[in-house]
Symmetry: D2
Subunit: 145 residues, 4 copies
């Protein structure tokens, strides 16, 4: 399978049982080898005590984009360490987009950068994720060309 | 007001409008100056594509404990940068406890360490949060003795 | 002064009294608004107990590149929080290059990404720095056009 | 060998060829299983363009304390990812002490917290290091009781 088709197939396999991301109304916009774009609209469940979107839901969106991006090679891969910096608030109704891009991949380890932005283009958060490939495939027996 | 009473009053003020934490079934177990303990049980909404709790919900619990711990001085305080390391998986039905402890507080900046553990004592994640006090109080006009 | 000239003038002002970077044999290769490239050759002083370059010297090079990149606007700026991930070892004689690129700048806060590479192109470390502008200028009274 | 004796023997083996730490005038104050204390006095080589100790040398001290603490089990262990937050400046002549404490150790992975302080007790930096055990021993064939 070519790399782009494999990336999409991996994402479909993950999405099928990803109730967490679906429950929050996330949408998988696009996926390519080492990249993924997800979107989510802030709703009333996500508001914290300062009346802005709880940082944890911004993390969730970025972390999901990270997971889809680092699992595009049909090698089951998990998050080890993630850092997030909050830049601008998000409020109810804000449409957030998380763009994940692979920065490094060496052996079983990867580094991915994810930017979460509002529809007006303002950055909401910068996230850097460190991944590690573990045993197992998402689609048994399929390899990239 | 003494520091311990002020910490509890701040937490009550935050909890009153913290629909995000409540919606996820979190419980505020205890709060002291610079400290907070919160608990949450992993449910079906929180499962990811690897059939374990999505790291984002573990982050959410730790981040809420961080928020309650850094807002115990009646000075409105927000998260700037957070890092999380995932150590052991959590599964549906696991009762998770997040314990937040202040490590440093210098001027408007603070560093808090949060450990998320399962009921069997195994650590699920280590989280370090960097906070910054902004304008405003949680309970207008009240100060610590 | 135009932005590019101001960036170079800031770097010259910093370099004049940067004995730490000079003592380690660093070279300032280039500087532009929000960007800087520095190089350093690993020598016998920098070797650790595993007979590879002590990670601290790799950090030092990245941190210097970060400092030059975030001080290109004639606003005195310091490091707040830095994260570094070590990817490949460096050995005595290796020529290391650190490339710092601004990722975000919002008010007084900035995020910069620095990649340290060997001459053969292999990445040695990825560094993300969070900066904060403080009081003062590097070249009193000069502003960008 | 008992754990405390093994920790000291590992530290001696590392120190013997740790020219980086020795060149900077570091002193190994104490070492125990999962812990190490190192000290260093800021000198003229370590000053940066803001006339304060270059953050990289503070990182170096913390990173060395981290290395000694995570190598106390006679299992060769390296730094993977480190984060450092700068809290107060250090100046020429300041005596800095770095205290490294193991926070978690699970399989081959560890998390260590290192606080760097001045002689007056003020914290200079907080450092969190993530370690990974690799192949090899520091003292061939010796095990903890």
């Amino acid at each position: 399978m070519d790399g782009a088709a494999l990336a999409r197939a991996c994402a479909e396999a993950m999405w099928a049982d990803d109730s967490a991301s679906k429950h929050l109304g996330m949408q998988l916009i696009s996926v390519e080898p080492g990249r993924a774009v997800l979107a989510m609209t802030v709703d009333g469940r996500m508001v914290n005590g300062h009346n802005i979107c709880h940082g944890g839901f911004i993390f969730l969106l970025a972390d999901s984009a990270f997971a889809y991006a680092c699992n595009t090679y049909n090698r089951r891969t998990v998050a080890q360490h993630c850092g997030i910096t909050f830049l601008n608030p998000a409020r109810i109704g804000d449409r957030l987009t998380a763009r994940a891009v692979e920065r490094q991949r060496i052996g079983r380890s990867g580094i991915f950068d994810i930017t979460v932005s509002r529809a007006d283009g303002l950055p909401v958060a910068e996230f850097r994720g460190h991944s590690r490939a573990i045993e197992g495939e998402l689609i048994p027996g399929v390899k990239a060309d």
